[in-house]
C-alpha cells in the first residue's frame, strides 16, 4: 500500500484522536477524499474556526468561545453550587442530562501517584480560591468511581474542610470504574439527585 505524503500526514493526525486507530483514520480520510468540496473544505474551515475561537474558561475550565463561558455568565444558574468534574467531557455529560443547575469546576484530571499527577497539576488551588472568594454553599464532587477518582474526592474534601462549604459526592449507582461521560442520562440524574455528604 503506498500513500502519498499529505494523505499519510492526515491519517497520522487523525489516528491520534481518541477512538480512532490508523485503520479507522484511513477509512475516514478515504471517505473525505471522495467528496473534498462537500466534506473536506468545510471540515477544514470548522477546525480552524474552533481552534481560533474556543478557549478554556478562566473561571471553570469549560471550553467555550468566550471566557467566562456561557454557563459561568448565565444569570439563571445557582451560583452557590459548584460541581467538580474530572474533565470537560463529564461537564458536557451533566449538561446533556440537565440535572445540575449550578456552576462547574474542571479539575483537568485526577490524582495519580503512579501516573505522576499531583495536586499542583490539577486545578485544585483555583477551586479553593473560588470557594473562599465567592462564598459557595455546596461543592458536589462528581468524580469517576475509580481509585484515583475516590482518592481525589477524599483529598478535595480534606482541603475544602477549612472553608466550611458543604461537600457532597454523587450517590452510589455510578458503577465502579465507570467514567461519567459514558453513563446514560437517567443514571447520571439519579446519581446527582441522591448525592450524599462526602
Amino acid at each position: 500500500m503506498s500513500e502519498s505524503e499529505p494523505i499519510e500526514r492526515l491519517v497520522g493526525l487523525l489516528a491520534k484522536l481518541p477512538g480512532l486507530g490508523r485503520r479507522s483514520a484511513r477509512r475516514a480520510v478515504l471517505r473525505m477524499l471522495m467528496q473534498p468540496e462537500a466534506l473536506m473544505l468545510p471540515l477544514a474551515a470548522a477546525l480552524r474556526e474552533a481552534a481560533e475561537a474556543v478557549r478554556p474558561c478562566a473561571v471553570c475550565g469549560n471550553l467555550d468561545t468566550r471566557s467566562p463561558c456561557a454557563i459561568c455568565r448565565d444569570p439563571r444558574r445557582e451560583r452557590g453550587v459548584i460541581c467538580v468534574v474530572e474533565g470537560v467531557a463529564d461537564l458536557w455529560a451533566l449538561e446533556r442530562a440537565q440535572v445540575h443547575r449550578g456552576l462547574y469546576h474542571v479539575l483537568g484530571g485526577t490524582l495519580s501517584a503512579l501516573g505522576g499527577v499531583g495536586p499542583e497539576d490539577l486545578a485544585i488551588r483555583p477551586l479553593l480560591a473560588r470557594v473562599a472568594e465567592d462564598g459557595a454553599e455546596e461543592v458536589i464532587l462528581a468524580l469517576p468511581a475509580t481509585v484515583d477518582g475516590a482518592t481525589t474526592a477524599h483529598y478535595l474534601t480534606d482541603r475544602l474542610r477549612p472553608t466550611g462549604v458543604r461537600v457532597t459526592r454523587l450517590a452510589q449507582g455510578v458503577p465502579v470504574g465507570g467514567a461519567l461521560d459514558v453513563l446514560d442520562e437517567g443514571t447520571l440524574a439519579a446519581a446527582v439527585k441522591a448525592r450524599r455528604p462526602a
Binding site: 486507530g21 501517584a113 481509585v147 482518592t151 477524599h154 482541603r159
Partner: protein, 394 residues
C-alpha cells in the same frame, strides 16, 4: 453427593486453532469422566488449559494473552478455542481467543468471548454458564513457598464465587502502590496520603471480609464431609484484619486500619511496604485427623488436602450457580497412593460434575475402565484410547 445436587455442566466438543502446541484440534467428549494420558510434553496440560479458558479469567496457568498462541517464527499466532456445552437447559457454544485487535488501541491483551457466536458483554454473563475448578502440579509447592502464592490461591477461590472480588483486590493494590510511591518520594502531603490510606482501608476491609466469608463457607462444606474419603480439613485465615472482622463491625475495622496506616508512615517508608493491610494475609490448611498443618504433611497428604478443598469449592460453586463446574485435575492421580486414588475415583463417579484427568501412566486409571472415556495425547493431536473404551452409559 446429595440427590438434589445440581446437574453438571458438560463439555461435549472442543475445537482449538493455533493454541499452544495444537495447530488444529477438534474432538468430541462423550464421557462424564475423561482421562487423557500421554508423555510429558504431549500437550495434556495445554488441553486442560484450553478448557479452563472457556470460563472467566486467565485459565489454569494464569497466562497472558501473548503466551497462548502457537509459536511461529514471527511470534505467537492468533489463537481460538471453542467449546460446545450441555447443561440442564440445552446446548450452547462458547468461543474465545485473540480479538482482532483494534489498531492503535494498544490493548492486544484483551480477550473476548462469544456465546452462540454473539459477543458476550461481560464476564458475569459467562460466569452464569461456565465454571471450572482445577488442581495442577504447580499447586504442589503451595505450602512450601511464600504467602503470596497462598493469597492468590485463596483469592481465586473467592473470585470464582464473587467476581467483584478481583476488582476490590486490584483497587487495594493500586492504592497501596500509590502510597508506597508517595512514601518513597518522601512526600509530606498528608492529605494525599490520607486519601490513599482511606482507599486502602475501604478496599482492604472488603477484601478481608470476602476472604473470611469464603473460608467460613468452605469450612462448612469440608466439615459436612462432601469430599468423601478425603481427609477432613479446615482452612484457617492468618490475617489480623479477618480476625478483627470476627469481633468488630467492618466500619470500626476500616477506621482502625486507616489510623494504623497514618500512624506508621515513617516506618512503612523505611520498610518500603505497609506493615498492616490485606496484603499481609496468609492461610493455613489443617489435616484434622492428624492435627497437622499442610506444610508438615507428606506430599501425598498435601495433595489429598488440596483435592478436598477443590471438591468442596466445586460444591460451593454448584450451590451458588445451580450447576456443577468442570473439574480439571492435572497429574493428580500420580501423587496419590492407591487407596486415595481409589477414593478420588469413587468421589468423581459420585459427583454430578464432569471431570478431566491427565497422567503419564494409563495403568493408574485402570479402575476407571468402563466408567471413563480415554484419550491418548500425542503432540498436536488427541486420539481415542483403544484400551479405554467409551463407557456404555456415561
Amino acid at each position: 453427593m446429595p440427590p438434589n445436587a445440581p446437574p453438571g455442566l458438560r463439555l461435549t466438543r472442543l475445537t482449538l486453532r493455533d493454541f499452544r502446541s495444537y495447530p488444529a484440534l477438534e474432538t468430541g467428549f462423550r464421557g462424564r469422566i475423561v482421562v487423557v494420558t500421554g508423555e510429558n510434553g504431549a500437550g495434556k496440560t495445554n488441553l486442560l488449559e484450553a478448557i479452563s479458558l472457556l470460563g472467566p479469567g486467565r485459565g489454569l496457568r494464569g497466562a497472558r494473552m501473548g503466551e497462548l498462541g502457537r509459536r511461529a517464527p514471527a511470534g505467537p499466532l492468533p489463537w481460538a478455542a471453542a467449546g460446545r456445552f450441555e447443561n440442564a437447559y440445552g446446548r450452547f457454544d462458547i468461543g474465545t481467543g485473540t480479538t482482532p485487535a483494534a489498531e492503535g488501541c494498544g490493548s492486544a491483551e484483551r480477550r473476548a468471548w462469544r456465546l452462540d457466536n454473539i459477543p458476550l458483554r461481560s464476564a458475569g454473563e459467562l460466569a452464569e454458564r461456565v465454571a471450572a475448578v482445577w488442581l495442577t502440579p504447580q499447586m504442589d509447592r503451595l505450602f512450601q513457598e511464600g504467602a503470596s502464592g497462598r493469597r492468590r490461591f485463596l483469592d481465586r477461590l473467592v473470585w470464582a464465587l464473587e467476581p467483584a472480588h478481583a476488582r476490590e483486590v486490584a483497587a487495594y493494590e493500586n492504592a497501596m502502590a500509590q502510597r508506597n510511591r508517595l512514601l518513597a518520594e518522601d512526600s509530606r502531603d498528608t492529605a494525599w496520603l490520607a486519601a490513599l490510606e482511606d482507599a486502602m482501608a475501604r478496599h482492604g476491609v472488603a477484601v478481608a471480609a470476602a476472604r473470611r466469608g469464603l473460608a467460613a463457607r468452605l469450612n462448612a462444606v469440608l466439615a459436612a464431609g462432601v469430599t468423601g474419603a478425603f481427609p477432613a480439613a479446615r482452612l484457617d485465615l492468618l490475617c489480623p484484619l479477618c480476625e478483627a472482622l470476627g469481633r468488630d463491625p467492618a466500619l470500626a475495622v476500616e477506621e482502625r486500619l486507616r489510623t494504623a496506616l497514618a500512624a506508621n508512615r515513617a516506618r512503612d517508608a523505611a520498610a518500603g511496604a505497609a506493615a498492616a493491610g490485606a496484603h499481609r494475609a496468609d492461610m493455613a490448611l489443617w489435616h484434622l485427623p492428624k492435627r497437622l498443618p499442610a506444610e508438615l504433611c507428606s506430599t501425598g497428604e498435601q495433595k489429598a488436602l488440596l483435592v478436598a478443598v477443590v471438591l468442596a469449592h466445586a460444591a460451593l460453586i454448584a450451590e451458588a450457580r445451580g450447576f456443577a463446574p468442570l473439574l480439571l485435575l492435572d497429574e493428580v492421580a500420580a501423587h496419590l497412593d492407591a487407596p486415595r486414588r481409589q477414593a478420588l475415583f469413587a468421589a468423581l463417579a459420585a459427583l454430578p460434575a464432569q471431570a478431566f484427568l491427565t497422567g503419564t501412566d494409563p495403568a493408574l486409571f485402570a479402575p476407571l475402565s468402563g466408567l471413563a472415556e480415554g484419550f491418548r495425547a500425542r503432540p498436536g493431536i488427541l486420539v481415542p484410547d483403544e484400551e479405554f473404551p467409551l463407557p456404555e452409559c456415561a
